[in-house]
């Protein structure tokens, strides 16, 4: 089964992003089952790694003005966080 792909915007120095620790971030779904939902954003509790292979899904990284980084990271989404309840 193909890996799911997400992306996220990193507004700080990439080196400051903690790896292998639970953190909350906003991710966008790039490979939804229904294509109409592409780019749907969600708050998620997740663990990330700068290694492309460590976690089940791919995470593409963009900087604050949308600059796409060349190599993807990997991500394990633990749960979605609902900010609107």
């Amino acid at each position: 089964m193909a890996r799911k792909e997400y992306d996220t915007f990193v507004l700080t120095d990439l080196a400051l992003i903690p790896e292998d620790k639970e953190m909350e971030l906003i991710v966008r779904d790039l490979t939804p089952a229904d294509r109409r939902y592409k780019y749907r954003s969600t708050f998620a509790m997740a663990m990330v790694s700068k290694s492309e292979s460590k976690y089940p899904d791919l995470l593409w990284v963009r900087l604050g003005r949308g600059q796409l980084q060349e190599k993807p990271w990997s991500i394990k989404i633990i749960k979605e966080v609902n900010k609107f309840s």
Partner: protein
Amino acid sequence: MPYPVFKDNREFIKALEANNDLVTIQQEVDWDLEMGAIVRRVCEKKSASPYFKKIKDYPGFEAFGAPLATYKRLAIAMGMKPDAFVPEISNEYVKRTTGDPIKSILLDKKKAPCKENIWTGKDADLFKLPGPMVHDGDGGRYLATWHFVVSKDLETQAVNWGMYRQMVFDEKTMVGPVLPFSDMGKMFYGKYVPKNKPMPFATVIGCDPLAGVAACAPSPIPEDEFTGMLMGAPVELVKCETCDLEVPAHAEIIIEGEVIPNLLIEEAPFGEYTGYRTSPREPRTVYRIKAITFRNNPILTVSNMGVPTDEGQLLRSFSLGLEMRKLLESQGIPITGVFMLPESTHHMVVVGVKPIYSNIASQIANLVFGSKLSPWFHMVIVVDEETNIYNKDDVIHALATKCHPIRGIRKYEQSVGTPLYPFADPEDRKWSRGAQVLFDCTFPLHWSKSDLPIKVSFNNVYPKEIQEKVLQNWKNYGFKD
């Protein structure tokens, strides 16, 4: 007496087609970047408006790009000759909008096309609309690029229509910047937020072209009445489904909901009207939706902000300049005209004046920089009456030859700015701080007449009879132009 204008976008699309200013695209187009790329290229080449009949993943929806990105389209929208010159369109706009405001009328819901389909509850899902990914690298899909947001003041009940971009976050949520000095910013952050009250809103997409012009115009007149003045007839409104706001009955898509106090979510980046992605991705205003209503086969309007010229730059320049003209005329300043260059992304305004007293340029700059219009521009060029303000070559010539590099330039520090200024320091963008500058291109009055440089042009240094002789014989000499 109504002007020969259009009650909805569908009539306007037909008029563009009749004037060879529309390309109907029957081929399926992808909402994910392809549609945005087409509209961007249209703006950069000043091509005809694209009318997308088939959008990938969204059967039954259509889209209309670059609706007002040229003066020709603005002239058509105003019911004027397509080849009307900018000064003619400007004078007509000022004439129509200086009379009495025209109150809107309320239609029964059964007569309102925008109520042909109503989605509420779970059905009200933003991803069921073909919001485009406009530019690669944007923070999300922007449903609202050529639209306006309706809101009402909590205390005065004054209604505002304004263009505030909205990015789709999830099925029920949109996010976007609402700058604190904007009309909606003053309402929401000044009145609703301190009381922790959500503010009802309605986003209107695919309105008639003149309502879009009015929503861009920084006029003190309520925008629905301003639209009526431009149309010469009352705008037909209809009540929303979930709040007491009213929206244009003939619009294509209405999104209703509430702006949420004390909650911010990251929005942007986005390709902006300055031609850059400048403002940072940062926490911004949150809209939660409750209902979507729309016409059968709705037509989404799509603007693509970027390098000049798109409708944001063109119309904002047009109306900002003309509101400045009204302001200066109301103060009795002997101006000959005001023109804001759309290519300056409404940052640079040219004011023509009869310099009959000293430092008149400073007086003009003080007035316009001191007005509520000022956060949106930062350069004022004041020229005398021998410069054609609508001719870029003439303005550049005046700037380069008449403006003294020290005495002719006056700086205004600590102004209100916007986060969208590419030249501003990151900290200044964050706090909407700006700076402004005047370029005085008039010769000082105390110079003696014999010291005044004389402009050397065909119109200026030849006797009338020689000019006429040359013009009459021009083709006989062998010239083809």
